[in-house]
């Protein structure tokens, strides 16, 4: 399998604070991978290392086989990069910025850019700095599409966008990526957005990777069971199969990769009497919280 991104034994600290140690992951070509994690778990650190804006303490990331710290101009032309907050050269207007970028990319295709711009209600020489966050997101997306990169790295694309623009962004992006066999590596703090976009999910917690797998497989295998304890004081041993357990008095939410039969049998075996036992349908956001915990 060919990988667009391959990170090997990545270790990074900020001062003495460990961000992660020996992080390994790959992004196969043509897939859309969502990197999820709580604030401070290392998402932006990973994006910065991938873009060569941060040197890891040890380990390395390869993008199309080149060390991300020393990407050649030809390789950089294959990567579209969306900075958190849709940052662009906001002192330019939409004509100036298109003219500027078109000089750098041999595959520049202005059509998708102007198609998106035609949907914006902006004047031709309105500065990007005076546009709304949603409009700026469309400018940033249009520029990336015109660049026609093979790999898109999107840092928190949903930041500052209202639901309509988020949906527009996601639907446009997914259709584009699938039609042209593009690879996307993305983060977003709004996890429910990811469900419509990504093929694979990589969930990080402080210092470690909790899971990396196809999102469908994750949603199928990771489960939430909800029940009430007959005896409010009963203790539930946190054995290996319990990924996370959230408890408020007698109400319990148990997250696991095991089946309903297994969990019922386990509770029965431990003599823990329960009522209202049921499996709860989860969205990706529920599953993310279930896996990483609320705190």
């Amino acid at each position: 399998m060919d990988y667009a991104i391959e990170c090997i034994n990545l270790t990074h600290y900020y001062g003495k604070k460990l961000v992660y140690e020996n992080l390994n992951f790959q992004v196969p070509e043509g897939t859309i991978l969502g990197l999820l994690g709580k604030n401070g778990s290392g998402k932006t650190t990973t994006i910065n290392i991938l873009n060569g804006f941060l040197q890891p303490r040890s380990g390395r990331c390869l993008i199309y086989g080149e060390d991300s710290q020393r990407l050649s101009p030809a390789n950089k032309a294959r990567i579209g990069f969306l900075i958190e907050g849709h940052i662009q050269y906001s002192f330019m207007d939409i004509h100036q910025i298109e003219k500027f970028y078109s000089g750098f990319y041999p595959k520049w295709d202005r059509e998708p850019y102007w198609e998106l711009m035609s949907k914006l209600k902006v004047t031709p020489h309105q500065k990007i700095s005076s546009m709304s966050c949603g409009q700026r997101s469309q400018v940033a997306l249009g520029l990336i599409l015109a660049q026609d990169p093979d790999l898109l790295i999107l840092d928190d694309f949903s930041m500052g966008l209202d639901p309509g623009y988020r949906r527009l962004f996601i639907d446009y992006l997914r259709a584009y990526a699938k039609a042209r066999h593009k690879t996307i590596f993305t983060t977003s703090h709004i996890v429910q957005d990811m469900e419509r976009l990504i093929d694979d999910v990589l969930i990080m917690d402080y210092n470690r990777v909790l899971t990396q797998r196809p999102v469908e497989e994750f949603m199928r295998e990771f489960k939430q069971f909800s029940f009430e304890l007959e005896d409010e004081k009963a203790e539930i041993p946190q054995d290996g199969f319990v990924t996370n357990l959230e408890r408020v008095k007698d109400k319990v939410e148990l997250y696991t990769y095991q089946s309903e039969e297994f969990v019922r049998g386990y509770l029965h075996e431990k003599g823990i009497a329960v009522r209202e036992f049921r499996q709860v349908e989860m969205g990706l956001e529920d599953a993310f919280i279930g896996l990483t915990g609320k705190y």
Binding site: L54, P73, I79, I83, G103, Y105
Partner: protein, 223 residues
């Protein structure tokens, strides 16, 4: 194509600042000669020349800080927008070697300053010929050359400071720059800087690449 694009971006950033600065600087040069004309009219030419030749009267002293201000204005207009929201990431992500991008930006700024300073210099020399003999003009040229070099030095040092990602280091660089730039500006005797001009020129050339260090530190993730 990419050089044209790079020039275009830099021009969009600096054009109004550069034009406004050039206009004000030209007005300042014009004011110098209004004063010269006034002084010659009231003191007579032979007395006025005497003040200049034997009493060290510096008739062009208004010009002293004008190139310095130009260097600072251009550096802020050109590099500050790159630091807002860490936009320099966009520049480093362009399919161009990162140091080359920074050097292109610096060369653009240098050429803008050079064009502007050349205009001021030619205006100064050209109008001087109306009022002064060659000896006075030559000593004025020797005196103002370090001031123009100060403009370039201020531009290069300001680029280093603005692009530096850590505030504490910015302050440190600022203190060093504040101690260093007056080297170009201390002498007030006409022609007094003659022996030092070559050394100041070489020093200024060395400063021109200082911004690469801030760029390197940004890319290593210093914050």
């Amino acid at each position: 194509m990419l050089i044209r694009s790079m020039i275009f971006k830099e021009w969009v950033k600096v054009r109004w600042f550069l034009l406004l600065y050039t206009l004000l600087a030209v007005l300042a040069v014009a004011y110098i000669f209004i004063r010269v004309r006034h002084d010659i009219t009231f003191h007579e030419a032979n007395n006025y020349w005497y003040f200049i030749l034997f009493q060290g009267h510096s008739w062009f002293r208004l010009l002293r800080y004008i190139p310095l201000a130009g260097g600072l204005v251009l550096a802020v207009a050109q590099y500050f927008p790159e630091t807002v929201n860490k936009r320099i990431k966009l520049t480093f992500h362009l399919p161009v070697e990162e140091n080359r991008s920074l050097l292109m930006m610096m060369q653009f700024g240098t050429l803008c300053l050079l064009a502007c300073f050349l205009l001021l210099f030619l205006l100064l020399c050209g109008l001087s010929r109306v009022w002064f003999p060659t000896e006075i003009i030559f000593s004025a040229v020797v005196s103002v050359t370090p001031w123009f070099l100060a403009g370039f030095a201020a531009y290069y040092l300001a680029a280093l400071i603005i692009l530096e990602p850590v505030w504490l280091r910015r302050i440190l660089y600022l203190l060093v720059a504040a101690a260093f730039v007056p080297l170009y500006l201390t002498g007030s005797v006409p022609g007094g800087y003659g022996p030092a001009i070559l050394a100041l020129f070489l020093l200024t050339c060395l400063l021109s690449v200082a911004l690469l260090f801030s760029g390197y530190r940004f890319r290593k993730g210093e914050m």
